[in-house]
Assembly symmetry: C2
DNA sequence: TGACTACTATGACGAGTGTCATAGTAGTGA
DNA sequence: TCACTACTATGACACTCGTCATAGTAGTCA
């Protein structure tokens, strides 16, 4: 995740995503992003003629893609994957991140939704597709585990809802317990045999 | 919920809470709050010498208390309350609100956490206690329904996590489906007979 | 060498921010 | 009438914000 090798453009997108996680959209200043990215300020209007909206949108896009890839990594590490094991892996990943950074950074998509859902349609759309980019590999994995398409869509959405909420509560309480809690409580729902539930 | 009868102080707190729901903490300007509240600007420093932090903290406090009272209202309307029925009532409440306001307003506590968890300890604490104020009546109700204290704490936390996440996703998608989904999926977990689960 | 493109540097603009200082008004109780 | 308190009015300060205009540099083709 070191950002030295990539070009300044990518570094700015990455720095924006990280800043979103800490302070939300309106709390993210472009000047600070440029500093964090160790990028030239003049490049902002060159690479992102669409202004802050474009930068934030690309940061969300990056975040969605990254999260999706992370799901793949978790899956590839599992001998016999089950829905609950997958969910637990994702949740544990977040718990470790929150712990390591002392709850400083949450989910950038959540930040975008909270700040912009009503005021900035560009960003809202980007957040929406980022969530979808993240959810899709979860659903695919569930299908591979024998769930129907419909069921996989439902369960993957449930996973993301519970995770986002748990991240939120964990940051409020400064305690990762909610994350572990949702992983434990959802296990029976997620692992219910394919035919048993609607 | 009309704000004409209350004093300017209360109106400012209320207006702040509503503004938080739309644009987050950093997106909430004090001058706009004053206008929305139809309050004198000079009263800001008089009633809230602690500045914006105090105002936001009180708004979160108000929101937590309001949400808790709402739980009570739902319960009082139920002949034979069950955990899943209670959760569904809360969720439906939110779905109706989101629909009515076209997804413009989310949860003020979520907004505070996302924007301030890392940068503003005062607000973070206020968000934490607001969540707790909200969760407590849920847990109490679950105890009344025969769940153990431990179990009630777990389930009430699960409810709030799923709800907060579903609100988030609903606003991103501009669709209340995630809310209805979590209510449906969590029902078996919530209604599992007291002794059946850990 | 010269034109052309990609990228960077920098200063400024106007608007908005939270906060504060200062002065004013209305009402109450002595 | 006087003092005192509660509350309001308003202008200013010192920022920060996103955006833009303009100029400059480096590199690449012809």
């Amino acid at each position: 995740m070191s950002s030295d090798t990539r070009g300044p453009r990518d570094r700015m997108v990455y720095a924006t995503a990280q800043h979103l996680r800490r302070a939300g959209v309106s709390g993210t200043g472009l000047r600070q992003v440029v500093i964090d990215a160790d990028a030239p300020r003049g490049s902002l209007q060159h690479y992102f003629p669409g202004g802050k909206d474009q930068l934030v949108a690309e940061a969300l896009d990056w975040a969605g893609t990254w999260a999706a890839a992370r799901v793949g990594e978790h899956l590839s590490r599992m001998r016999r994957p089950t829905p609950s094991r997958l969910f637990t892996a994702v949740v544990d990943d977040w718990a470790a991140d929150l712990d390591a950074r002392e709850f400083a950074r949450g989910c950038p998509v959540a930040a975008a939704v909270v700040d912009c859902a009503d005021t900035n349609e560009t960003v809202r759309r980007a957040a929406d597709t980022a969530l979808e980019t993240w959810r899709r590999p979860l659903a695919e994995a569930l299908v591979d585990m024998g769930r129907s398409r419909r069921r996989a869509d439902s369960l993957s959405t449930l996973m993301l809802c519970a995770l986002e909420g748990a991240i939120l509560m964990a940051r409020a309480r400064r305690d990762t317990a909610p994350l572990r809690l949702v992983a434990r409580e959802l296990a029976p729902v997620l692992d219910a045999p394919p035919g048993a539930q609607r």
